[in-house]
Symmetry: C2
Subunit: 663 residues, 2 copies
């Protein structure tokens, strides 16, 4: 039987070899964390390599994602569908072993990581998901949902502010089954961290209501085992296990930042292997070590026992079993279509002027009534963004139930936690803040798009319509910035029916959506069944002229009513004008060219796009010959109506720009 | 003589009245912090209302910027050029009293605040600036630079992760003259914070090497005076004074979130004024209170004494006096032009393939040699982003000198600190990270653009050229996202001379600049004096054809060489092709239409834009009839050359797209 150190060394050599072959990668962290990984993955981690989707598996997030080879080595050795050839293909185009772990690419990778800190923040979301599902679905003698969320993180993760935001919430929420291993190697890329990271981490995490264990020797298996036991014992607090380790362990670059981000080189590898007493050639793992790592049988046994539990549960609680299955699959409830129909009918009947954030709240009233998988929240703007409904119940950290989260003023942490909730499965997280603060969450939105998590961001106060709060609170470039994140759907509805369809699409779409909503009231617009039916296409003719149009007015959100008013004036002057509402450009772009050319006939070059935001985005539709009414400066503090006039969002201005094009 | 409470009440009534008149604003915080403000501004704050630019004034940052009326009341009452009419015009378009404090709009406002947490982070930068300048310019008996940086912040600021990032550095850097008043009122917008902010703040800040004073009664002037003394006494650690206050103090909405973000209403105001014993009509301040607040004379005396000190200093150390004046004015050194000339000559002589990040480092070698106002740094990527030079010296927290900052993995905190350094004056901060992590700093870049701070961001690893690190590290939408921030200049140079000009423009431009630089080597391009002379125009003809072009190829950075190669092939096929390099769109857009039409003749519609990033931005130049070679998906992990081929950045692809347009 190999020693535990030898088992850890197997992770080390695979990491070194793969990085060396790729001539690219980060050996320092895998070498440093190999003993931590051996201790956790062989002495406590409950998973089934045959089925990375098993819903009650423990979750594992490698927050210091540059240590990806450590994770790939673990997945390979324990028996996931990750072959030695995959390991050899580390960092090659099209391989299952990319430079940083990518959710959806590699079986067994629970989250995409790399941007430091976000993995830990997502792990907080996963642990919350577990706690909530357990509370909802477990029954006496049926601990159906009962797993841990583990996370490895490094010094860099703890420097990033997002970990403060998320860990503070994890402490407040008493996520006792979140266990974080902190790889405290004292080195980051610039060298010894003493000069830029002097925090007393123990004290900091205790201040956030965490249990802090250690510092322990991160290379001592027994210390690691004891720490894990202690971590599990505290069921009320998340645990941070401070593991003192040596980056580049066993190599001649140990304890040096030179081991961090570049292959060790053949000579260093040879020396390290000699140090480990490792004699096999690259990519060869002795059978005894392979065997000791292989977790397929143990994993199958674990899942089998769970499946039996679930079978008994299904008999005792058939409805709950069905519901859990539905939620974990991400299927919509049976009543969903009906709910949408009813909502749309209600919206069509409204005649009052109302902010789209209010319409959004009405949508949420409907959907939170029939979709328990919705878990809402806000970064301390619940009233303003309309994310609470009669069916939301604030999460209770003591009891562990609820479907609404007060995230505090933490947009980035909130968004990462949403990603974690969605990655876990069983939830569709939605949460809101002001659109201008989407900036703070930007990289989490990017990761959401990359992972295609089913999250919905409710961004309100979407333009100078914010009014008196001024330029810091008035988005300009934010809408365009969100639209250009690949894979993010962005909706900016103009009225109740568009808001209803935006929500419906956000809930049926399996990736992330950003909803862009007005603070100010917008008029109910005249609609016929056809225009309503076309909303889901993302861009459509809201009002047309008789015959071929001379002029296209393209608008979104609060500017659609303005376009309609301007069209009235232009029509009176005999101009054949078409008004196109474009609530979701991404959807419009997915339509076939017949639809796109029908809505925006290529021959019509007199086009005016109107959106109270960065004009940049709209050249794609107006080209070199059109005009854009947008904002290429910041806004101002003032009454919204004064600002709209000041910045040219007036009927006169639209008309004069349009006429200038036709001259 | 009015009591101190009455003096504080003057701030309260002005705040209430102005907010009521505007029918918009945040009364809760001004009412809660008025006693803190009275204590600081009348018992310790060294400033001169006659001259808000006095370089040795204490700095004041209102991090919870929604309390703007408190600051405006302070500025008005102490004697800044802010009249009672300005107060009456609170939150009106064009007024000097916008909804949140805006640097450059209101005399005496040292920073634009509103997005929570960033004010505190900027204050850290200001305090660092003071310490560095003092170290450089003070002489025995000449404490020329000797002021405090004060900051008021609220619960929301401390929830935002950016304060963890910046305050951690402030502790590490021993910024003993940074004094932060924490308005611990226990309420944020969603209500009592117990449910989402359970941190032990004292412990957290002690963990970051801060002195924590209190909690004290934030309405007790004597306690506040004692706290300020204690804060000043500790010269080695920044101080956090925890002030327990009542939001909406003295009103019937005291201790309730309902006082936070909406006018109190006439009835509540009447009740509050009765409670205060305040009998004057709105906007009327009794003469005795006016007089007690007036700091003009005291301020003039303070500055006069300092001016005398400076006069003596100028005699004793004429060169240092001149240099300090130059730096505080933001004037360039006399050797600047020579340095630029020499640098450009060197760049033109280079023939090797080199990454623009390496060219950038060469530029910094030159400029850090002659510009002591440059203060560099990196978010833990110093080697990769090339921000250290032979002339940089790491900041020493004990001695207080140096011109290079190890920010750790804290992009957002770094960027706020850069803003603070620039706002203080005396420095041009530059710092680097990978472009994909610009996301984390986004809102600080936005504030930089809004305030027009003279900061330079060095963003390297600017595309799929990153290679193996994969999509999390490969920017796609980031370049376009930066370009659409109003007032931000974005340079993406293609070779050494363009990099030199980019740096030169960044240093002469008075607002913020983002430099977008390649990880990978780029060939030295053939140049003549004309093309070099045109770089500063932002967009210019790098290679032309004989006669009028049929086709325009527009490219930036790493894609310019590709455009040239493709142009060779096209020229061989008899196509009249022009290659336009567009390193800085913002500069190009500032040229007159004659130049723009000369470079991009409106009649030539066969246009191909090439940039390994979001295509979205380029429609403005190719319109509906052109083509864009960009990326509208995320990248992949793989060798850079494989990725460039995979994503179509090849000569063949450019040629085929171009030919398709001409068909």
């Amino acid at each position: 039987m190999p020693t535990r150190r030898q088992l850890a060394d197997a992770l080390r050599v695979l990491s070194m070899d793969a990085i060396e072959k790729a001539k690219s990668g980060h050996p320092g962290a895998p070498l440093g964390m190999a003993d931590m990984a051996e201790a956790l993955w062989r002495h406590g981690f409950r998973h089934n390599p045959n089925n990375p989707q098993w819903i009650d598996r423990d979750r594992f997030v490698l927050s210091n994602g540059h240590a990806s080879m450590l994770l790939y080595a673990l997945l390979h050795l324990t028996g996931y569908a990750l072959s030695i050839q995959d390991i050899r293909d580390f960092r090659q185009l099209g391989s299952k072993t990319p430079g940083h772990p990518e959710f959806g690419v590699t079986p067994g990778v629970d989250a995409t990581t790399g941007p430091l800190g976000q993995g830990l923040a997502m792990a907080c979301g996963m642990a919350l998901a577990e706690r909530l599902l357990a509370n909802t679905f477990n029954r006496p003698d049926f601990p159906l949902i009962d797993h841990y969320t583990y996370c490895f993180c490094g010094d860099g993760c703890l420097m990033e502010g997002v970990t403060q935001e998320a860990c503070s919430l994890a402490g407040t929420w008493r996520l006792g089954k979140l266990i974080v291993y902190y790889d405290a190697n004292g080195i980051s890329i610039d060298g010894k961290i003493d000069a830029w990271f002097t925090e007393d981490t123990t004290k900091r995490f205790e201040a956030m209501q965490w249990q802090v264990i250690g510092p322990i020797d991160g290379h001592n298996p027994e210390a690691l085992d004891a720490a894990l036991l202690a971590a599990k014992k505290d069921t009320q607090r998340p645990s941070l296990i401070v593991c003192q380790t040596h980056i580049g362990f066993g190599s001649n670059k140990e304890d040096s930042e030179t081991s961090h981000g570049a292959p060790l080189g053949e000579e260093s590898i040879a020396l390290a292997k000699a140090q480990y007493g490792w004699e096999d050639p690259p990519f060869v793992i002795p059978a005894s070590i392979q065997e000791a790592w292989d977790a397929k049988e143990a994993g199958a046994t674990l899942e089998k026992a769970w499946n039996e539990l679930f079978a008994r549960y299904s008999q005792a609680y058939p409805d709950s079993a069905k519901e859990l299955t539905r939620r974990m699959r991400g299927d919509l409830p049976e009543t969903f279509d009906e709910c949408c129909q009813h909502l749309l009918t209600t919206m069509l009947a409204k005649t009052d002027s109302l902010a789209t954030r209010k319409h959004s709240q009405a949508c949420l009233e409907a959907f939170t009534a029939c979709m328990p998988e919705l878990i809402g929240g806000s970064a301390d703007l619940s009233g303003s963004v309309g994310t609470m409904t009669r069916h939301t119940e604030t999460f209770d950290p003591v009891q562990g139930h609820g479907n609404y989260l007060y995230y505090g003023v933490r947009e980035f942490g909130m968004s990462c936690i949403m990603n974690g909730l969605a990655l876990h499965k069983g939830f569709i997280p939605y949460a809101g803040t002001f659109l201008s603060f989407a900036d703070q969450a930007k990289n989490a939105l990017r990761l959401a798009a990359m992972m295609q998590t089913h999250c919905i961001w409710v961004f309100t106060h979407d333009s100078i319509g914010v009014g008196e709060d001024g330029p810091t609170h008035q988005p300009i470039e934010q809408i365009a910035s969100l639209r250009i994140i690949p894979g993010m759907e962005v909706w900016r509805p103009c009225d109740g029916p568009e808001t209803a369809l935006a929500w419906q699409c956000a809930l049926t779409h399996t990736g992330p959506t950003s909803l862009i909503l007005s603070r100010q009231g917008l008029p109910a617009l005249p609609r016929d069944p056809e225009t309503t039916a076309h909303i889901a296409k993302g861009g459509y003719i809201l009002r047309d002229c008789q015959g071929d149009p001379q002029l296209l007015l393209i608008a979104t959100g609060s500017e659609v009513a303005l376009a309609l008013e301007a069209a009235d004036v232009l029509a009176k002057e005999g101009i054949l004008v078409r008004v196109v509402s474009m609530p979701c450009v991404e959807r419009f772009e997915k339509q076939n060219s017949a639809w796109r050319d029908f809505v925006l006939p290529p021959s019509v070059r007199a086009r005016v796009a109107i959106e109270a935001g960065s004009p940049s985005y709209w050249y794609r539709y107006v080209g070199l010959d059109g005009a854009i009414l947008g904002m290429d400066t910041f806004g101002c503090s003032g009454k919204a109506k004064d600002l709209r006039k000041h910045f040219g969002f007036t009927v006169d201005h639209v008309v004069s720009e349009a006429l200038a094009l036709l001259r």
